[in-house]
Protein backbone atom coordinates (compact mmCIF):
# COMPACT_ATOMS: atom_id res chain seq x y z
CA UNK A 1 0.00 0.00 0.00
CA UNK A 2 2.67 2.46 1.09
CA UNK A 3 4.84 1.47 -1.84
CA UNK A 4 2.06 2.29 -4.26
CA UNK A 5 1.46 5.58 -2.52
CA UNK A 6 5.12 6.48 -2.78
CA UNK A 7 5.30 5.50 -6.42
CA UNK A 8 2.22 7.57 -7.14
CA UNK A 9 3.77 10.55 -5.40
CA UNK A 10 6.97 10.10 -7.32
CA UNK A 11 5.03 9.93 -10.55
CA UNK A 12 3.26 13.10 -9.53
CA UNK A 13 6.51 14.88 -8.76
CA UNK A 14 8.18 13.54 -11.88
CA UNK A 15 5.09 14.53 -13.86
CA UNK A 16 5.28 18.10 -12.60
CA UNK A 17 8.90 18.37 -13.59
CA UNK A 18 8.47 16.66 -16.93
CA UNK A 19 5.63 18.96 -17.81
CA UNK A 20 7.92 21.96 -17.68
CA UNK A 21 11.38 20.56 -18.15
CA UNK A 22 11.92 21.85 -21.70
CA UNK A 23 14.51 24.62 -21.79
CA UNK A 24 15.58 26.35 -24.99
CA UNK A 25 13.57 25.43 -28.05
CA UNK A 26 13.76 21.80 -29.02
CA UNK A 27 11.23 19.72 -30.85
CA UNK A 28 9.19 17.76 -28.30
CA UNK A 29 9.63 14.50 -30.18
CA UNK A 30 12.36 15.04 -32.79
CA UNK A 31 12.03 11.59 -34.45
CA UNK A 32 8.32 12.02 -35.00
CA UNK A 33 8.36 15.78 -35.65
CA UNK A 34 11.21 15.72 -38.20
CA UNK A 35 9.46 12.95 -40.16
CA UNK A 36 6.22 14.94 -40.08
CA UNK A 37 7.70 18.34 -40.92
CA UNK A 38 10.14 17.05 -43.54
CA UNK A 39 8.43 14.01 -45.05
CA UNK A 40 11.22 13.29 -47.56
CA UNK A 41 13.82 13.06 -44.78
CA UNK A 42 15.43 9.81 -43.73
CA UNK A 43 17.52 11.14 -40.88
CA UNK A 44 18.75 14.20 -39.06
CA UNK A 45 21.68 15.53 -37.12
CA UNK A 46 21.26 17.80 -34.09
CA UNK A 47 23.56 20.79 -33.69
CA UNK A 48 23.60 22.91 -30.55
CA UNK A 49 24.81 26.47 -30.76
CA UNK A 50 24.31 29.96 -29.35
CA UNK A 51 25.10 33.53 -30.29
CA UNK A 52 27.65 33.62 -27.49
CA UNK A 53 29.43 30.58 -28.91
CA UNK A 54 29.22 31.59 -32.56
CA UNK A 55 30.05 35.27 -32.54
CA UNK A 56 29.49 36.83 -29.13
CA UNK A 57 28.51 40.47 -28.68
CA UNK A 58 29.36 41.32 -32.29
CA UNK A 59 26.94 38.72 -33.63
CA UNK A 60 24.29 39.80 -31.13
CA UNK A 61 24.61 43.36 -32.33
CA UNK A 62 24.34 42.20 -35.98
CA UNK A 63 21.26 40.10 -35.21
CA UNK A 64 19.60 42.97 -33.34
CA UNK A 65 20.36 45.41 -36.18
CA UNK A 66 18.94 43.02 -38.79
CA UNK A 67 15.93 42.30 -36.59
CA UNK A 68 15.35 46.01 -36.01
CA UNK A 69 14.82 45.41 -32.31
CA UNK A 70 16.85 44.73 -29.20
CA UNK A 71 16.80 41.37 -27.46
CA UNK A 72 14.46 41.88 -24.54
CA UNK A 73 13.90 40.68 -21.02
CA UNK A 74 15.64 38.04 -18.99
CA UNK A 75 15.02 35.16 -21.41
CA UNK A 76 16.05 36.62 -24.79
CA UNK A 77 19.79 36.84 -24.22
CA UNK A 78 23.12 36.10 -25.85
CA UNK A 79 23.39 32.80 -23.93
CA UNK A 80 20.14 31.25 -25.18
CA UNK A 81 20.91 27.82 -26.67
CA UNK A 82 19.58 27.04 -30.14
CA UNK A 83 19.04 23.61 -31.62
CA UNK A 84 19.44 23.22 -35.36
CA UNK A 85 18.18 20.01 -36.91
CA UNK A 86 20.12 19.24 -40.09
CA UNK A 87 17.88 17.13 -42.29
CA UNK A 88 19.11 14.36 -44.56
CA UNK A 89 17.65 12.20 -47.29
CA UNK A 90 19.91 9.18 -47.17
CA UNK A 91 23.37 10.78 -47.09
CA UNK A 92 22.39 14.04 -48.72
CA UNK A 93 21.66 17.12 -46.66
CA UNK A 94 18.32 18.56 -47.79
CA UNK A 95 17.45 21.24 -45.25
CA UNK A 96 17.05 22.41 -41.71
CA UNK A 97 14.49 22.75 -38.95
CA UNK A 98 15.04 25.44 -36.37
CA UNK A 99 12.94 26.85 -33.56
CA UNK A 100 13.04 29.93 -31.36
CA UNK A 101 11.24 30.98 -28.19
CA UNK A 102 9.28 34.16 -28.32
CA UNK A 103 7.49 35.99 -25.57
CA UNK A 104 3.76 35.94 -26.31
CA UNK A 105 0.92 37.77 -24.62
CA UNK A 106 0.14 34.99 -22.13
CA UNK A 107 3.10 32.67 -22.41
CA UNK A 108 6.06 31.45 -24.41
CA UNK A 109 5.59 30.79 -28.12
CA UNK A 110 7.82 28.23 -29.84
CA UNK A 111 8.09 28.90 -33.56
CA UNK A 112 9.81 26.41 -35.87
CA UNK A 113 10.61 26.94 -39.52
CA UNK A 114 11.43 24.18 -41.98
CA UNK A 115 14.02 25.46 -44.47
CA UNK A 116 15.59 24.15 -47.65
CA UNK A 117 19.29 24.60 -48.36
CA UNK A 118 18.70 28.07 -49.87
CA UNK A 119 16.87 29.32 -46.78
CA UNK A 120 13.36 29.23 -48.22
CA UNK A 121 10.59 28.31 -45.79
CA UNK A 122 9.14 24.90 -46.63
CA UNK A 123 7.10 24.58 -43.48
CA UNK A 124 6.00 26.54 -40.43
CA UNK A 125 5.08 25.09 -37.06
CA UNK A 126 4.08 26.70 -33.77
CA UNK A 127 4.85 24.00 -31.25
CA UNK A 128 3.48 25.84 -28.25
CA UNK A 129 1.37 28.87 -27.68
CA UNK A 130 -0.80 29.98 -24.79
CA UNK A 131 -3.78 31.95 -25.96
CA UNK A 132 -7.51 31.57 -26.27
CA UNK A 133 -6.96 31.84 -30.00
CA UNK A 134 -3.87 29.64 -30.21
CA UNK A 135 -5.79 27.04 -32.21
CA UNK A 136 -6.23 29.44 -35.10
CA UNK A 137 -2.61 30.53 -35.14
CA UNK A 138 -1.39 26.95 -34.86
CA UNK A 139 -3.64 25.84 -37.67
CA UNK A 140 -1.86 24.49 -40.76
CA UNK A 141 -3.76 27.00 -42.88
CA UNK A 142 -2.01 29.88 -41.11
CA UNK A 143 1.36 28.13 -41.42
CA UNK A 144 0.93 27.61 -45.17
CA UNK A 145 1.07 31.39 -45.68
CA UNK A 146 4.78 31.30 -44.76
CA UNK A 147 5.75 28.68 -47.33
CA UNK A 148 8.03 30.04 -50.04
CA UNK A 149 9.08 33.10 -48.03
CA UNK A 150 12.73 33.90 -47.36
CA UNK A 151 14.62 36.21 -45.04
CA UNK A 152 14.64 38.77 -47.87
CA UNK A 153 10.86 38.95 -47.68
CA UNK A 154 11.10 39.79 -43.98
CA UNK A 155 13.77 42.45 -44.49
CA UNK A 156 11.15 45.18 -44.58
CA UNK A 157 8.97 43.82 -41.83
CA UNK A 158 9.18 46.14 -38.82
CA UNK A 159 8.94 43.93 -35.74
CA UNK A 160 8.32 46.92 -33.46
CA UNK A 161 5.46 48.62 -35.31
CA UNK A 162 4.23 45.51 -37.08
CA UNK A 163 4.34 47.35 -40.38
CA UNK A 164 4.82 44.97 -43.28
CA UNK A 165 5.17 45.18 -47.02
CA UNK A 166 5.31 42.73 -49.90
CA UNK A 167 4.76 39.06 -49.21
CA UNK A 168 4.80 39.45 -45.43
CA UNK A 169 2.01 42.00 -45.63
CA UNK A 170 -0.05 39.35 -47.38
CA UNK A 171 0.07 37.08 -44.32
CA UNK A 172 -3.42 37.23 -42.83
CA UNK A 173 -3.98 37.13 -39.09
CA UNK A 174 -6.58 34.42 -38.48
CA UNK A 175 -7.18 35.71 -34.95
CA UNK A 176 -7.49 39.51 -34.94
CA UNK A 177 -8.30 39.29 -31.22
CA UNK A 178 -4.78 37.97 -30.67
CA UNK A 179 -2.88 40.62 -32.61
CA UNK A 180 -0.03 40.61 -30.07
CA UNK A 181 0.55 36.89 -30.54
CA UNK A 182 0.28 37.21 -34.33
CA UNK A 183 2.98 39.87 -34.27
CA UNK A 184 5.03 37.77 -31.87
CA UNK A 185 4.87 34.89 -34.34
CA UNK A 186 6.11 37.14 -37.15
CA UNK A 187 8.91 38.54 -34.99
CA UNK A 188 9.90 34.99 -34.03
CA UNK A 189 9.95 33.98 -37.70
CA UNK A 190 12.15 36.91 -38.68
CA UNK A 191 14.48 36.28 -35.74
CA UNK A 192 14.57 32.60 -36.62
CA UNK A 193 15.56 33.31 -40.25
CA UNK A 194 18.21 35.84 -39.22
CA UNK A 195 19.73 33.39 -36.74
CA UNK A 196 19.77 30.62 -39.34
CA UNK A 197 21.44 33.00 -41.77
CA UNK A 198 24.09 33.90 -39.19
CA UNK A 199 24.62 30.36 -37.93
CA UNK A 200 24.36 28.44 -41.19
CA UNK A 201 23.78 30.15 -44.52
CA UNK A 202 26.33 32.98 -44.19
CA UNK A 203 28.79 30.60 -42.62
CA UNK A 204 28.91 28.19 -45.56
CA UNK A 205 30.03 29.09 -49.11
CA UNK A 206 27.28 27.39 -51.05
CA UNK A 207 24.47 24.98 -50.30
CA UNK A 208 25.57 21.52 -51.20
CA UNK A 209 25.12 18.00 -50.07
CA UNK A 210 27.55 17.20 -47.28
CA UNK A 211 28.27 14.95 -44.34
CA UNK A 212 26.72 11.75 -43.18
CA UNK A 213 23.41 11.69 -41.30
CA UNK A 214 23.22 10.42 -37.74
CA UNK A 215 20.05 8.42 -38.01
Amino acid sequence: MMRLTVLSLLLLLAGCTAAWSAVGCDLNDPDRDVARLFPESTGYKTIYTSILKKGGEKMLSTVETRLGDKFKGIYETIEVPYTIYEIYANKKKIGYIHGVNQKGQFGGIQVFVVLDLEGTIKGFYIQKMTSQYAGRLRDAKFGRQFIGLTLKDFDHYDVVSGHASGKVEAIKNPAPEAEADFRAALRATKKNLILMDEFVYSAQPSPSSQEVPKK
Binding site: M2, R3, L4, T5, V6, L7, S8, L9, L10, L11, L12, L13, A14, G15, C16, T17, A19, W20, S21, A22, V23, N28, D29, R32, D33, R36, G73, I74, Y75, E76, N101, Q102, K103, G104, Q105, F106, G107, G108, I109, Q127, K128, M129, T130, S131, Q132, A134, G135, R138
Partner: protein, 397 residues
Protein backbone atom coordinates in the same frame (compact mmCIF):
# COMPACT_ATOMS: atom_id res chain seq x y z
CA UNK B 1 71.96 0.79 0.87
CA UNK B 2 69.03 -0.64 -0.99
CA UNK B 3 65.89 -0.88 1.14
CA UNK B 4 63.34 -3.70 1.32
CA UNK B 5 60.83 -1.41 -0.36
CA UNK B 6 63.16 -0.85 -3.32
CA UNK B 7 63.79 -4.61 -3.66
CA UNK B 8 60.04 -5.29 -3.57
CA UNK B 9 59.40 -2.57 -6.13
CA UNK B 10 62.08 -3.90 -8.48
CA UNK B 11 60.72 -7.42 -8.10
CA UNK B 12 57.30 -6.25 -9.24
CA UNK B 13 58.86 -4.53 -12.26
CA UNK B 14 60.50 -7.78 -13.33
CA UNK B 15 57.12 -9.13 -14.44
CA UNK B 16 55.52 -5.91 -15.59
CA UNK B 17 52.53 -7.35 -17.47
CA UNK B 18 51.53 -9.63 -14.63
CA UNK B 19 51.93 -6.87 -12.06
CA UNK B 20 49.98 -4.49 -14.26
CA UNK B 21 47.10 -6.92 -14.72
CA UNK B 22 46.94 -7.55 -10.97
CA UNK B 23 47.04 -3.81 -10.40
CA UNK B 24 44.16 -3.32 -12.81
CA UNK B 25 42.13 -5.97 -11.00
CA UNK B 26 42.60 -4.16 -7.71
CA UNK B 27 41.94 -0.77 -9.33
CA UNK B 28 38.65 -1.94 -10.83
CA UNK B 29 37.57 -3.43 -7.49
CA UNK B 30 38.47 -0.21 -5.70
CA UNK B 31 36.63 1.84 -8.33
CA UNK B 32 33.46 -0.25 -7.97
CA UNK B 33 33.70 -0.10 -4.19
CA UNK B 34 34.24 3.67 -3.99
CA UNK B 35 31.49 4.32 -6.55
CA UNK B 36 29.06 2.07 -4.69
CA UNK B 37 29.79 3.59 -1.29
CA UNK B 38 29.67 7.05 -2.88
CA UNK B 39 26.29 6.18 -4.37
CA UNK B 40 25.06 4.95 -0.99
CA UNK B 41 25.78 8.23 0.73
CA UNK B 42 25.08 10.46 -2.30
CA UNK B 43 21.64 9.02 -2.95
CA UNK B 44 20.57 9.30 0.65
CA UNK B 45 21.92 12.85 0.98
CA UNK B 46 20.12 13.98 -2.18
CA UNK B 47 16.93 12.22 -1.17
CA UNK B 48 17.05 13.86 2.27
CA UNK B 49 17.58 17.23 0.59
CA UNK B 50 14.63 16.68 -1.75
CA UNK B 51 12.42 15.66 1.14
CA UNK B 52 13.61 18.55 3.31
CA UNK B 53 12.90 20.88 0.40
CA UNK B 54 9.29 19.81 0.49
CA UNK B 55 9.18 21.77 3.72
CA UNK B 56 6.90 19.43 5.62
CA UNK B 57 7.26 16.02 7.18
CA UNK B 58 3.70 14.77 6.90
CA UNK B 59 0.98 15.16 4.33
CA UNK B 60 -2.70 14.60 4.93
CA UNK B 61 -4.53 13.68 1.74
CA UNK B 62 -8.02 12.58 0.86
CA UNK B 63 -8.16 8.82 0.65
CA UNK B 64 -6.98 7.62 -2.71
CA UNK B 65 -5.52 11.01 -3.48
CA UNK B 66 -1.94 9.97 -4.21
CA UNK B 67 -3.14 7.62 -6.90
CA UNK B 68 -5.47 10.19 -8.32
CA UNK B 69 -2.81 12.85 -8.02
CA UNK B 70 -0.55 10.74 -10.17
CA UNK B 71 -3.21 10.14 -12.76
CA UNK B 72 -4.11 13.81 -12.60
CA UNK B 73 -1.06 14.49 -14.71
CA UNK B 74 -2.20 11.97 -17.26
CA UNK B 75 -5.92 12.63 -17.29
CA UNK B 76 -6.09 16.36 -16.98
CA UNK B 77 -7.17 16.68 -13.41
CA UNK B 78 -10.22 14.48 -13.60
CA UNK B 79 -11.04 12.22 -10.71
CA UNK B 80 -9.08 14.08 -8.04
CA UNK B 81 -10.19 13.45 -4.47
CA UNK B 82 -10.83 16.40 -2.24
CA UNK B 83 -11.31 16.96 1.45
CA UNK B 84 -12.98 19.72 3.33
CA UNK B 85 -10.58 22.36 4.55
CA UNK B 86 -12.27 22.34 7.97
CA UNK B 87 -10.15 19.28 8.65
CA UNK B 88 -7.25 21.68 9.05
CA UNK B 89 -8.59 22.74 12.45
CA UNK B 90 -8.43 19.14 13.69
CA UNK B 91 -4.89 18.78 12.41
CA UNK B 92 -3.66 22.11 13.75
CA UNK B 93 -4.84 21.43 17.32
CA UNK B 94 -2.55 18.41 17.71
CA UNK B 95 0.32 19.31 20.07
CA UNK B 96 2.97 17.75 17.81
CA UNK B 97 2.11 20.08 14.94
CA UNK B 98 4.14 23.24 14.50
CA UNK B 99 2.69 24.55 11.22
CA UNK B 100 0.29 23.46 8.54
CA UNK B 101 -0.42 24.62 5.03
CA UNK B 102 -3.33 23.74 2.74
CA UNK B 103 -2.78 22.93 -0.93
CA UNK B 104 -5.25 22.47 -3.74
CA UNK B 105 -3.57 20.66 -6.60
CA UNK B 106 -5.24 21.19 -9.91
CA UNK B 107 -4.48 20.50 -13.51
CA UNK B 108 -5.83 21.58 -16.84
CA UNK B 109 -5.37 20.27 -20.32
CA UNK B 110 -3.48 22.57 -22.66
CA UNK B 111 -4.36 21.58 -26.21
CA UNK B 112 -1.78 23.96 -27.61
CA UNK B 113 1.24 22.35 -26.04
CA UNK B 114 2.94 20.20 -28.68
CA UNK B 115 1.16 18.00 -31.17
CA UNK B 116 -1.15 16.19 -28.79
CA UNK B 117 -1.43 18.71 -25.99
CA UNK B 118 -0.16 18.48 -22.43
CA UNK B 119 -1.11 18.97 -18.82
CA UNK B 120 -0.47 22.17 -16.94
CA UNK B 121 -0.44 21.87 -13.15
CA UNK B 122 -1.37 24.65 -10.75
CA UNK B 123 -0.90 24.62 -7.00
CA UNK B 124 -3.40 26.64 -5.04
CA UNK B 125 -1.60 27.74 -1.87
CA UNK B 126 -1.96 30.13 1.03
CA UNK B 127 1.05 32.39 0.60
CA UNK B 128 1.74 33.02 4.29
CA UNK B 129 1.67 29.46 5.58
CA UNK B 130 3.24 28.01 2.42
CA UNK B 131 6.13 30.48 2.50
CA UNK B 132 6.70 29.70 6.18
CA UNK B 133 6.93 26.00 5.30
CA UNK B 134 9.48 26.67 2.59
CA UNK B 135 11.69 29.49 3.83
CA UNK B 136 14.40 28.35 1.42
CA UNK B 137 12.36 29.54 -1.58
CA UNK B 138 13.97 32.76 -2.77
CA UNK B 139 12.67 35.09 -5.42
CA UNK B 140 14.44 35.97 -8.63
CA UNK B 141 11.86 38.67 -9.20
CA UNK B 142 8.94 39.96 -7.12
CA UNK B 143 7.43 38.09 -4.18
CA UNK B 144 4.43 36.11 -2.93
CA UNK B 145 0.88 37.24 -3.62
CA UNK B 146 -0.62 38.78 -0.54
CA UNK B 147 -4.31 38.17 -1.16
CA UNK B 148 -5.57 34.59 -1.38
CA UNK B 149 -8.48 35.81 -3.49
CA UNK B 150 -6.38 37.63 -6.05
CA UNK B 151 -5.66 36.58 -9.62
CA UNK B 152 -1.90 36.58 -9.16
CA UNK B 153 0.67 33.88 -9.75
CA UNK B 154 4.14 32.94 -8.60
CA UNK B 155 6.10 30.85 -11.07
CA UNK B 156 8.89 28.38 -10.52
CA UNK B 157 12.11 29.11 -12.38
CA UNK B 158 11.63 26.63 -15.22
CA UNK B 159 7.93 27.34 -15.60
CA UNK B 160 8.72 31.05 -16.00
CA UNK B 161 11.53 30.32 -18.44
CA UNK B 162 9.32 28.11 -20.59
CA UNK B 163 6.53 30.67 -20.56
CA UNK B 164 8.98 33.58 -20.97
CA UNK B 165 7.29 35.35 -18.08
CA UNK B 166 8.56 38.16 -15.94
CA UNK B 167 6.93 39.99 -13.07
CA UNK B 168 4.09 42.10 -14.44
CA UNK B 169 3.32 39.74 -17.34
CA UNK B 170 0.08 37.84 -17.61
CA UNK B 171 -0.49 34.12 -17.88
CA UNK B 172 -3.59 32.36 -19.06
CA UNK B 173 -4.84 29.18 -17.42
CA UNK B 174 -5.69 26.97 -20.41
CA UNK B 175 -9.13 25.36 -20.54
CA UNK B 176 -10.46 27.77 -17.92
CA UNK B 177 -9.25 30.86 -19.83
CA UNK B 178 -8.55 32.72 -16.60
CA UNK B 179 -5.84 35.36 -16.56
CA UNK B 180 -3.32 35.77 -13.76
CA UNK B 181 -0.76 38.50 -13.22
CA UNK B 182 2.74 37.20 -12.47
CA UNK B 183 3.91 38.77 -9.20
CA UNK B 184 6.88 36.57 -8.43
CA UNK B 185 9.44 34.30 -10.08
CA UNK B 186 11.36 31.90 -7.90
CA UNK B 187 15.05 31.14 -8.07
CA UNK B 188 16.04 27.69 -9.28
CA UNK B 189 15.74 25.14 -6.45
CA UNK B 190 16.45 21.88 -8.27
CA UNK B 191 13.12 20.53 -7.03
CA UNK B 192 9.66 20.09 -8.51
CA UNK B 193 8.90 23.65 -7.37
CA UNK B 194 10.91 24.84 -10.41
CA UNK B 195 8.18 23.63 -12.73
CA UNK B 196 5.22 24.70 -10.64
CA UNK B 197 2.87 27.63 -10.95
CA UNK B 198 1.51 28.75 -7.58
CA UNK B 199 -1.78 30.58 -7.45
CA UNK B 200 -3.87 31.74 -4.48
CA UNK B 201 -5.84 28.97 -2.80
CA UNK B 202 -9.19 30.73 -2.69
CA UNK B 203 -8.92 31.72 -6.34
CA UNK B 204 -8.13 28.13 -7.32
CA UNK B 205 -11.13 26.89 -5.32
CA UNK B 206 -13.30 29.39 -7.14
CA UNK B 207 -11.99 28.56 -10.62
CA UNK B 208 -12.35 24.81 -10.15
CA UNK B 209 -15.63 25.18 -8.30
CA UNK B 210 -14.28 23.52 -5.15
CA UNK B 211 -15.30 25.94 -2.40
CA UNK B 212 -13.59 25.15 0.92
CA UNK B 213 -11.96 22.05 -0.51
CA UNK B 214 -8.32 21.09 -0.70
CA UNK B 215 -6.31 18.07 -1.80
CA UNK B 216 -3.42 18.18 0.65
CA UNK B 217 -2.39 19.51 4.04
CA UNK B 218 1.34 19.83 4.58
CA UNK B 219 2.37 19.39 8.21
CA UNK B 220 5.57 20.58 9.79
CA UNK B 221 6.25 18.90 13.11
CA UNK B 222 7.76 20.43 16.19
CA UNK B 223 11.45 19.68 16.61
CA UNK B 224 12.27 16.22 17.96
CA UNK B 225 8.68 14.99 17.78
CA UNK B 226 8.06 11.37 16.85
CA UNK B 227 5.56 11.38 14.01
CA UNK B 228 4.15 7.87 14.59
CA UNK B 229 1.66 8.73 17.41
CA UNK B 230 0.44 11.76 15.46
CA UNK B 231 -0.06 9.62 12.36
CA UNK B 232 -2.15 7.22 14.44
CA UNK B 233 -4.30 10.09 15.66
CA UNK B 234 -4.69 11.61 12.21
CA UNK B 235 -5.79 8.28 10.79
CA UNK B 236 -8.86 8.59 13.02
CA UNK B 237 -10.02 11.50 10.88
CA UNK B 238 -12.59 10.43 8.30
CA UNK B 239 -11.54 9.63 4.73
CA UNK B 240 -7.97 10.77 4.91
CA UNK B 241 -4.67 9.06 4.55
CA UNK B 242 -1.36 10.17 5.94
CA UNK B 243 1.82 10.16 3.98
CA UNK B 244 4.90 10.46 6.12
CA UNK B 245 7.90 11.71 4.20
CA UNK B 246 10.11 9.65 6.51
CA UNK B 247 8.14 6.63 5.30
CA UNK B 248 8.46 7.85 1.74
CA UNK B 249 12.19 8.04 2.24
CA UNK B 250 12.32 4.58 3.85
CA UNK B 251 10.27 3.08 1.05
CA UNK B 252 12.46 4.62 -1.62
CA UNK B 253 15.56 3.45 0.21
CA UNK B 254 14.07 -0.05 0.38
CA UNK B 255 13.42 0.04 -3.36
CA UNK B 256 16.94 1.25 -3.96
CA UNK B 257 18.45 -1.28 -1.56
CA UNK B 258 17.76 -4.03 -4.13
CA UNK B 259 19.99 -2.25 -6.60
CA UNK B 260 22.52 -1.58 -3.86
CA UNK B 261 22.63 -5.25 -2.84
CA UNK B 262 23.21 -6.23 -6.46
CA UNK B 263 26.04 -3.76 -6.92
CA UNK B 264 27.48 -4.68 -3.51
CA UNK B 265 27.48 -8.33 -4.57
CA UNK B 266 29.32 -7.44 -7.74
CA UNK B 267 31.81 -5.37 -5.75
CA UNK B 268 32.34 -8.24 -3.29
CA UNK B 269 32.95 -10.67 -6.16
CA UNK B 270 35.32 -8.18 -7.79
CA UNK B 271 37.22 -7.82 -4.50
CA UNK B 272 37.40 -11.59 -4.03
CA UNK B 273 38.72 -11.99 -7.58
CA UNK B 274 41.25 -9.25 -6.92
CA UNK B 275 42.38 -10.97 -3.68
CA UNK B 276 42.80 -14.27 -5.49
CA UNK B 277 44.69 -12.40 -8.22
CA UNK B 278 47.03 -10.81 -5.69
CA UNK B 279 47.69 -14.14 -3.93
CA UNK B 280 48.27 -15.82 -7.28
CA UNK B 281 50.62 -13.12 -8.51
CA UNK B 282 52.71 -13.02 -5.35
CA UNK B 283 52.75 -16.79 -4.95
CA UNK B 284 53.85 -17.28 -8.56
CA UNK B 285 56.52 -14.66 -8.01
CA UNK B 286 57.68 -16.52 -4.88
CA UNK B 287 57.93 -19.82 -6.77
CA UNK B 288 59.82 -18.15 -9.60
CA UNK B 289 62.32 -16.71 -7.13
CA UNK B 290 62.56 -19.90 -5.15
CA UNK B 291 66.32 -20.28 -5.55
CA UNK B 292 66.89 -16.54 -5.16
CA UNK B 293 65.09 -16.59 -1.81
CA UNK B 294 67.17 -19.61 -0.81
CA UNK B 295 70.36 -17.68 -1.58
CA UNK B 296 69.08 -14.69 0.38
CA UNK B 297 68.55 -16.95 3.38
CA UNK B 298 71.98 -18.49 2.92
CA UNK B 299 73.60 -15.08 3.13
CA UNK B 300 71.81 -14.33 6.37
CA UNK B 301 68.25 -13.23 5.62
CA UNK B 302 65.88 -14.32 8.37
CA UNK B 303 62.36 -15.75 7.64
CA UNK B 304 60.85 -12.49 8.92
CA UNK B 305 62.97 -10.48 6.41
CA UNK B 306 61.70 -12.62 3.53
CA UNK B 307 58.16 -12.40 4.93
CA UNK B 308 58.36 -8.59 5.03
CA UNK B 309 59.87 -8.41 1.55
CA UNK B 310 57.02 -10.37 0.02
CA UNK B 311 54.45 -8.59 2.13
CA UNK B 312 55.70 -5.19 0.95
CA UNK B 313 55.15 -6.30 -2.64
CA UNK B 314 51.51 -7.02 -1.79
CA UNK B 315 51.12 -3.67 -0.07
CA UNK B 316 52.62 -1.82 -3.06
CA UNK B 317 50.23 -3.59 -5.44
CA UNK B 318 47.16 -2.98 -3.28
CA UNK B 319 47.95 0.63 -2.38
CA UNK B 320 48.73 1.60 -5.98
CA UNK B 321 45.67 -0.27 -7.28
CA UNK B 322 43.52 1.34 -4.59
CA UNK B 323 44.75 4.86 -5.44
CA UNK B 324 44.13 4.27 -9.17
CA UNK B 325 40.66 2.94 -8.37
CA UNK B 326 39.82 6.00 -6.27
CA UNK B 327 41.06 8.33 -9.04
CA UNK B 328 38.96 6.39 -11.56
CA UNK B 329 35.91 6.68 -9.30
CA UNK B 330 36.42 10.45 -8.96
CA UNK B 331 36.91 10.97 -12.69
CA UNK B 332 34.02 8.73 -13.69
CA UNK B 333 31.61 9.81 -10.94
CA UNK B 334 29.51 11.90 -13.36
CA UNK B 335 29.20 8.96 -15.74
CA UNK B 336 28.31 6.68 -12.82
CA UNK B 337 25.70 9.26 -11.81
CA UNK B 338 24.20 9.25 -15.33
CA UNK B 339 24.14 5.45 -15.51
CA UNK B 340 22.49 5.19 -12.08
CA UNK B 341 19.89 7.75 -13.11
CA UNK B 342 19.13 5.80 -16.27
CA UNK B 343 18.76 2.53 -14.38
CA UNK B 344 16.92 3.58 -11.23
CA UNK B 345 13.13 3.99 -11.16
CA UNK B 346 13.48 7.23 -9.21
CA UNK B 347 16.48 9.44 -8.60
CA UNK B 348 16.51 12.57 -6.45
CA UNK B 349 17.58 15.86 -7.98
CA UNK B 350 21.05 16.28 -6.43
CA UNK B 351 24.24 14.34 -7.16
CA UNK B 352 23.81 10.58 -6.76
CA UNK B 353 27.47 9.78 -6.17
CA UNK B 354 29.11 11.60 -3.28
CA UNK B 355 32.79 10.75 -2.80
CA UNK B 356 34.39 12.59 0.10
CA UNK B 357 37.77 12.38 1.83
CA UNK B 358 36.47 10.11 4.58
CA UNK B 359 35.15 7.62 2.04
CA UNK B 360 38.43 7.65 0.11
CA UNK B 361 40.39 7.09 3.31
CA UNK B 362 38.14 4.24 4.46
CA UNK B 363 38.36 2.53 1.06
CA UNK B 364 42.13 2.86 0.83
CA UNK B 365 42.65 1.60 4.38
CA UNK B 366 40.24 -1.28 3.64
CA UNK B 367 42.04 -2.24 0.45
CA UNK B 368 45.47 -2.08 2.08
CA UNK B 369 44.19 -4.26 4.95
CA UNK B 370 42.76 -6.75 2.44
CA UNK B 371 46.10 -6.65 0.63
CA UNK B 372 47.99 -7.29 3.88
CA UNK B 373 45.72 -10.24 4.64
CA UNK B 374 46.01 -11.71 1.17
CA UNK B 375 49.80 -11.32 1.31
CA UNK B 376 50.15 -13.32 4.52
CA UNK B 377 50.06 -16.75 2.90
CA UNK B 378 52.55 -16.11 0.05
CA UNK B 379 54.85 -14.25 2.46
CA UNK B 380 54.60 -17.07 5.02
CA UNK B 381 55.41 -19.66 2.34
CA UNK B 382 58.37 -17.60 1.19
CA UNK B 383 59.59 -17.23 4.76
CA UNK B 384 59.49 -21.01 5.26
CA UNK B 385 61.68 -21.85 2.23
CA UNK B 386 64.69 -23.92 3.28
CA UNK B 387 67.88 -22.45 1.83
CA UNK B 388 69.71 -25.62 0.78
CA UNK B 389 66.64 -27.25 -0.75
CA UNK B 390 65.89 -24.03 -2.57
CA UNK B 391 69.38 -23.75 -4.00
CA UNK B 392 69.22 -27.35 -5.17
CA UNK B 393 65.71 -26.64 -6.49
CA UNK B 394 64.35 -29.71 -4.69
CA UNK B 395 61.68 -28.35 -2.44
CA UNK B 396 58.15 -29.57 -2.86
CA UNK B 397 56.07 -26.60 -4.01
Amino acid sequence: MITKFQIAYKNLLRKRVRSLLTLMGIAVSAWVLVSLLGFNQGYETSLNKDIDNMGFQLMVMAKGCPYEAATMMLKGGTGLKYMDESIMKDVAKEPEVEKITPILMSAVFDANKGESGGIAGYFGVEPKSFAEMKPFLKFRQGGWFTDTNSYEAVMGYEAAELEQREVGDEILMPEKNVKFKVVGILNRTGTQDDGTIFVPLKTTQKIFNRPNEITTIGIKLKKGVNSAPLEEKLYQLPDVQIVSLAQVKDTIMKLISTAQVMVLSIATIAILIAIVGVINTILTSVWERFQEIGILKTVGAMPWDIFKLIWIETVILCTTGGVIGVILALILSRITDMVMRAVLPYAPSGGLVLIDFKLILITLVGIVCIGLLSGIYPAWRAGRIRPLEAIRGEAAR
